[in-house]
């Protein structure tokens, strides 16, 4: 077994402790990801999925437990320092890109010094790499390098944001429902791009999704969260044999609570 890239050991976080608004966002969460792991994360609203991401990124500091990334303890590291090795994508395509900068400038921003030291942020060398990466998306964006990102559609923006999140070869990729705001066809395309990038780079990835079918089909492993805990963690054969119905049954057995929120119901009815 290869060494864990991401390791959470007994991580807990409580918001507003000791008040009427006290909320236990994470309770003794332990999780270990190795290279090549592509984990889909499901759970109802408020289950702690985004809190898990925020804890890993350092949006807040955890109350107890340890977080290790690539073997290094990052529990007390400020968020912008962790960001060097974590790529993160949000539901809102507007969040991941700078609208008035061009496609190539956005990519150059994310690429940083990796193309070697040059006077200009966008130069001949990294521009060639950007064109190659954009061409792989098959969205025709390689011909629009000097277009301002704000002029692109949501799906195109999210695809570029995905490139930006992975171009710096992060140790970890966090996808927070990054296809949820897109129309079904575009969402499918962006998900395909995601899978191909993750499979190619072997970057350990956590992907929150409300699409239970996709949660089982995409990636190598699925975890389910409820009330700040990981209540299910399946991979391999067990995951292959899992069906949506069984997942739902298992869920109600584990937590005796309605899993479904409106959106999940909607997704299942569609299928």
């Amino acid at each position: 077994m290869s060494a864990a890239m991401l390791e959470l050991i007994n991580v807990s976080k409580t918001f507003f402790p000791g008040t009427v608004n006290e909320r236990k966002a994470l309770r003794n969460v332990s999780l270990s990801l190795k290279s090549g792991d592509f984990v889909t994360v499901i759970g109802s609203n408020g289950a702690g999925k985004t809190s898990l991401f925020n804890a890993i990124c350092g949006t807040f500091f955890v109350d107890s437990g340890k977080i290790l990334l690539g073997g290094k303890d990052i529990t007390d590291m400020p968020d912008y320092k962790r960001a060097v090795s974590i790529g993160r994508l949000f539901q809102d395509p507007m969040k991941g890109t700078a609208p008035h900068l061009t496609i190539e400038e956005n990519l150059a921003l994310a690429y940083g010094n990796r193309g070697g030291r040059h006077f200009f942020a966008v130069n001949r060398k990294n521009r060639a790499k950007f064109i190659e990466m954009l061409a792989a998306l098959e969205l025709g964006l390689e011909n629009r390098m000097t277009t301002q990102i704000g002029l692109l559609s949501g799906g195109q923006r999210q695809a570029v944001a995905l490139l930006m999140a992975t171009i710096s070869e992060p140790k970890l990729l966090l996808l927070d429902e990054h296809t949820a705001a897109l129309d079904p066809a575009t969402a499918k395309k962006v998900l395909e791009i995601t899978v191909s990038i993750v499979e190619k780079t072997k970057t350990p990835t956590l992907m929150i999704t409300h699409d239970i079918r996709a949660a089982l089909e995409v990636g190598t492993r699925t975890i389910m969260m409820d009330e700040g805990r990981i209540i299910l963690d399946i991979e391999g054969e067990e995951r292959k044999n899992m069906t949506i119905e069984k997942l739902l049954q298992l869920y109600s057995k584990e937590s005796k609570k309605q899993l479904l929120n409106d959106r999940m119901l909607f997704e299942i009815e569609k299928q």
């Binding site: 912008y80 960001a83 010094n113 942020a121």
Partner: protein, 304 residues
């Protein structure tokens, strides 16, 4: 008349550096920076003192550094002390009034002319042997072109790109590995350095400094930026900086023309500038209002 044109061209280009500095904070960082009134005067007072001591070139360099420091103070108040952007600019500007008085030894104005001190313009005239006006125009053009070119190039570098991204999508910048507080500080330093250089050049150009010279300077700068954008539109940073120079010069010509035809007394200048800025800033609102109005009129006519 041609002398007036030449004069307006010269001052317009000097003020262009002030407007370019304001462009960095107002358009690139998307924060209105009122430090400008203080840092412009700071550039003037520093320059007047060091130039009278006989070092006109050094004076401008110190003015640039002093302006950068003033910008850093405002950025510090904003990012670390978390004071609202506009208020932090007002605080620095107010404090700079005392600093500027101290620099001038408690005198509200100083003339370089009466002191008989050499300015870079006098030196350049001697060097080139051109007429006073032509050599002034040449020197100003060279300096402005150099500074604007430097700014354009800088904002294409990696650091420059980070500053632009900070103003464009701060949330994204904060969730990436960029230190947004640092990029803001840099932007404010660069912006106010350019403003102070503009003040320093103006001081040597008119051989005179007054503590109240920069009152209303922010509005003048904004008017220049907006007039420039009326010609070029809001596009890339490169075009932005060039349009600022055009806008600043055009602003001087508009004002000079209005004064020539005695449209108003000179003390109405600031009012007119304010009106220009208000009109330009209200354009988006006016546009939607008129679009709605036209749509309604069309509807009514269709129903009749």
């Amino acid at each position: 008349m041609s002398l007036i044109i030449l004069g307006e061209l010269q001052t317009g280009m000097i003020y262009a550096l002030m407007a370019a500095g304001l462009y960095v904070t107002f358009r690139i960082l998307d924060i209105p920076d009122l430090t400008v009134e203080g840092s412009f005067t700071l550039g003037m007072t520093v320059t007047v003192m060091i130039t009278s001591a006989g070092y006109p070139e050094l004076a401008l360099l110190i003015a640039i550094a002093a302006g950068a420091c003033a910008g850093l103070v405002t950025a510090f108040l904003q990012t670390k002390v978390k004071i609202q952007p506009i208020l932090s600019g007002i605080i620095t500007m107010t404090a700079l009034y005392s600093v500027n008085m101290q620099i001038m030894g408690g005198k509200p104005n100083i003339s370089l002319y009466s002191a008989g001190a050499d300015t870079i313009f006098i030196k350049f005239e001697r060097l080139t042997g051109l007429s006073a006006n032509n050599s002034k125009l040449l020197l100003i053009s060279l300096i402005v072109a150099a500074v604007i070119a430097l700014l354009i190039l800088f904002f294409k570098t990696r650091v420059g790109l980070k500053i632009r991204a900070t103003g464009d999508n701060e949330e994204m910048v904060r969730s990436s590995s960029i230190n947004a507080d640092l990029t803001k500080c840099l932007g404010f330093a660069i912006g106010n350095a350019s403003v102070a250089l503009s003040g320093g050049l103006l001081c040597q150009y008119q051989q005179y400094t007054d503590i109240n010279y920069a009152v209303g300077m922010v509005v003048v700068g904004l008017a220049s930026i907006i007039i420039g954008e009326a010609f070029f539109g809001r596009r890339s940073v490169t075009i932005g900086f060039i349009s600022v120079v055009v806008g600043s010069t055009a602003y001087r010509f508009i004002i000079a023309l209005a004064l020539q035809v005695k449209l108003f007394d000179p003390y109405w200048l600031k009012f007119i500038s304010a009106v220009i800025v208000v009109i330009a800033l209200s354009l988006p609102v006016l546009k939607t209002y008129f679009q709605k109005l036209f749509a309604r009129l069309k509807n009514e006519r269709g129903n009749a």
